[in-house]
């Protein structure tokens, strides 16, 4: 009898295991996995989004003005992720499978225009959440309106450290990208292992550039005490003529320019250096852009540029290799896109979007408070490493990667031009992360 009962129990147990197993196995029907879709059909410029009962995501980016290319790139990358998820059926939220709809809002990188556009996005287009944006002075508006209208705001490309300090923090805003502090600490730590000691700081004259200037000086004091900062200059956003600034740099005898400039300033800086025959390398986050390097005439220009990011395509692991392959297969022969490898910013932003939608999928709802509860303290595997969302200031914790540019590089178009060195250098989060800001716990 006992034996029969035991057999019965174990059968029952096995049955349970079986049911759970089937259940677990079946659950992917209602959820998405990154990089499952057929991307050969994905055209960034011809995207059509479902309408009606959808998850409405606002894309809060410049689509006009001099930084319009930043908005177009975000549209392309967000579209990539949305294409992937929608072709897998969407996300199960509030008991219903919903597809994602993207609605653009043009900031023009001007605070006033941005605020109007975001108000329209929230009040008129009634988005469920919004993502953005280029320019820390624009992101701060995102912070404020996220708080006012209780909408989730994912910040994936504004790096000013003060955006998430005690004064500007709110529970609806999450920053998945790094900060000026993290970037500066990673760079300084990297330089402490190199013989380079004479640095010149060249940044844009607004909060982000100034924050980066302060961050890099602090980080240098900590990691490279014998560093010599031979000069420091802040130029207006969207500068026309870099030549007088570069002559100033040249006269200072700097070995390395550290710059937080982003396109188009970062391109124009490199082009002006190229025209003036300067080969001083530049380090920062945006000096790996293939669209810029293909216009350089001088063979030596850009070599030694040092790039810092939490994602780089020369980070070697299985997940990243698969991502690189899928991306490269899609874009290596696309005449419209000059970026054929998922470079730092490109691959990084795709990772951030996957994280956002994965959080929504696990929260199973669009209710902001439940999304916040899921996201706080969450850990997510992106292509290059692990991101975890710090509860105190909603800042993602990450390992950073640093890589210099070489030529020829296998990570360039055709494999014979300027691109990353073979493998990136990992700098662990324990070194790059600064503690929670004062006043936040």
């Amino acid at each position: 009898m006992k034996l029969v009962r035991a057999i019965c129990t174990s059968l029952r147990f096995l049955g349970l295991v079986f049911i759970v197993g089937v259940g677990l196995h079946a659950s992917p029907v209602f959820s998405f996995t990154p990089l499952q879709a057929d991307f050969s059909t994905y055209e960034a410029k011809k995207q059509v989004f479902p309408t009606g009962d959808t998850i409405k995501v606002g894309l809060f980016e410049p689509f006009s003005g001099q930084s319009a290319s930043a908005g177009e790139i975000s549209y392309w990358l967000l579209g990539w992720v949305v294409h992937d998820i929608n072709s897998q059926g969407g996300i199960l939220v509030d008991g219903k499978m919903k597809k994602i709809q993207v609605i653009k809002a043009d900031t023009a990188t001007q605070p006033v225009v941005a605020k109007r556009a975001l108000q329209r996005l929230i009040l008129n287009d009634k988005v469920d959440l919004f993502v953005g944006t280029a320019g820390s002075h624009i992101a701060i508006i995102g912070n404020q309106l996220a708080k006012k209208y209780k909408k989730i705001f994912l910040n994936y490309s504004s790096y000013s450290v003060h955006l998430m300090d005690a004064q500007n923090f709110n529970k609806y805003t999450f920053r998945a990208c790094s900060t000026t502090d993290i970037n500066a600490r990673a760079l300084a730590y990297y330089f402490s292992k190199t013989p380079i000691r004479k640095f010149y700081i060249l940044c844009q004259d607004y909060s982000y550039g100034q924050d980066f200037g302060k961050s890099i000086k602090r980080a240098m004091d900590e990691f490279v005490p014998d560093a010599d900062i031979v000069g420091e200059v802040y130029h207006p956003l969207w500068l026309k003529d870099f030549a007088p600034y570069l002559s100033k740099v040249q006269a200072s005898g700097a070995e390395m320019i550290i710059s937080s400039d982003w396109p188009p300033d970062s391109w124009n800086l490199m082009l002006a250096m190229d025209q003036m025959g300067m080969t001083i390398p530049v380090s920062g986050q945006f000096f790996d852009d293939p669209r810029m390097s293909q216009n350089l005439k001088n063979k030596k220009a850009g070599i030694g540029n040092t790039v810092v990011n939490f994602h780089l395509c020369n980070v070697t692991n299985e997940k990243n290799s698969r991502f690189n392959k899928i991306f490269h297969d899609r874009y290596q022969n696309d005449p419209e896109v000059q970026i054929d490898w998922p470079t730092g910013v490109i691959g990084g932003v795709i990772g951030h979007f996957y994280w956002l939608f994965d959080v929504i999928q696990r929260a199973g709802t669009l209710d902001p408070d439940k999304i916040i509860a899921t996201w706080e303290g969450d850990t997510y595997e992106t292509f290059s490493g692990t991101l975890s969302m710090r509860k105190c200031d909603h800042q993602a914790v990450m390992d950073m990667f640093v890589s210099t540019l070489v030529s020829p590089s296998k990570w360039s178009k055709g494999g014979d031009r300027l691109g990353y060195q073979d493998e990136a250098i990992r700098i662990p989060s324990s070194i790059v992360m600064s503690p929670c800001p004062e006043g936040l716990e």
Partner: protein, 335 residues
């Protein structure tokens, strides 16, 4: 008397429409109406200089900016400052700026006045950018507290509620516009117009042209300051490109020209047309500006009096028609 009646015919429907707007329109549309009202006041203040004193300013935005920064600084640095004094501080700073610049500005007219005002607004732009630690520069200052409006006997009204703020702002803007309208009707207003047309004669009559010009300038700056101050409160933000950007002095000028020079109400129509165009074409903001510039060019070339000329033409036709009906009626009576 009849003239006054006609004036009211414009004012009353406008006041009525503005009063019921929040009941009819959604939250987003209200912000459009309020934004339009702010720029209408700004354009009217510019028009005061342009149509009534004959002075073309290419830098009127500096007074708008002074009002905005004045109010914002008051809210940032003075603990517990109430709403109306904060607006007043904005208006005062704009008026003071005008007063300080008037010794240099009153000597000029025509191109020189235009270029001087442009130079001053550029200097202000450069100063705001240079001292960005105080002014916020490109980032601007945002998120400052908006105090409640205290009315004796009623209590505090929460200004962070959109509808409350709308009514308070519209009242301030409306009263300002009315005061300016009244100002043009005073004897001084008439002097102003004759000064524009024939300064020598006014001087001969014993009026000091320079001082009169300075008075107009200060009054105009004051109300531009009020508009700027309300704008800063409305946006809860002030940034250099919003108040001193390349187009910020030209946009109100264009509004005046589209609405029609020489009239008080013209700039309001101009602003309305501009806002409507922008909203109608909000999916293609770039093309909206292009269309707007076409409208301006065509108006200057074919209808130099602006849209108001159309109104007059229609009104004149209407008068003719009315007379005809009346005379027909009278004839009929006689018959």
């Amino acid at each position: 008397m009849k003239r006054n009646m006609r004036g009211w015919l414009i004012w009353i429907p406008m006041i009525g429409a503005l009063a019921i707007a929040p009941q009819v329109l959604g939250a987003f549309e209200i912000t459009i109406v309020l934004g339009m009202a702010i720029f209408a006041l700004f354009s009217i203040s510019l028009n005061l200089l342009l149509s009534f004193a004959g002075l073309l300013s290419f830098g009127h935005a500096m007074f708008f900016a002074a009002g905005a920064y004045g109010t914002v600084f008051a809210l940032e640095y003075i603990q517990g400052v109430p709403l109306l004094p904060a607006v007043l501080i904005g208006a005062l700073s704009a008026a003071f700026l005008a007063l300080a610049l008037s010794p240099l500005l009153v000597r000029a007219s025509g191109h020189t006045f235009a270029m001087l005002t442009m130079a001053f607004s550029q200097i202000m732009y450069a100063i705001v950018m240079k001292y960005s630690t105080i002014t916020g520069g490109n980032d601007g200052i945002s998120g400052f507290p908006i105090p409640a409006l205290g009315i004796p006997g009623i209590g505090d009204i929460d200004m962070t509620m959109e509808r409350n703020f709308y009514y308070a702002a519209i009242t301030i803007l409306g009263i300002s516009a009315w005061v300016m309208w009244f100002f043009t009707r005073t004897p001084f207003g008439s002097i102003m117009i004759s000064m524009r047309d024939n300064p020598e004669r006014v001087a001969y009559l014993g009026f000091n042209v320079s001082i009169s010009k300075a008075v107009v300038l200060v009054v105009s700056a004051w109300f531009a300051g009020v508009a700027g101050s309300v704008y800063a409160l409305f946006q809860n933000m002030v940034s250099v490109d919003g108040v001193l950007g390349p187009m910020s002095s030209f946009t109100p000028l264009i509004n005046c020209f589209i609405g029609g020079l020489g009239t008080f109400i013209g700039p309001v129509f101009g602003t309305g047309i501009g806002t409507m165009l922008t909203e109608l074409m909000s999916a293609h903001p770039e093309q909206a500006q292009l269309v707007f510039s076409f409208v301006l060019i065509l108006l200057v070339l074919f209808l130099p009096g602006g849209v108001m000329t159309l109104y007059w033409k229609v009104a004149a036709k209407w008068m003719v028609l009315q007379n005809r009906i009346q005379s027909a009626f009278l004839k009929g009576n006689h018959g």
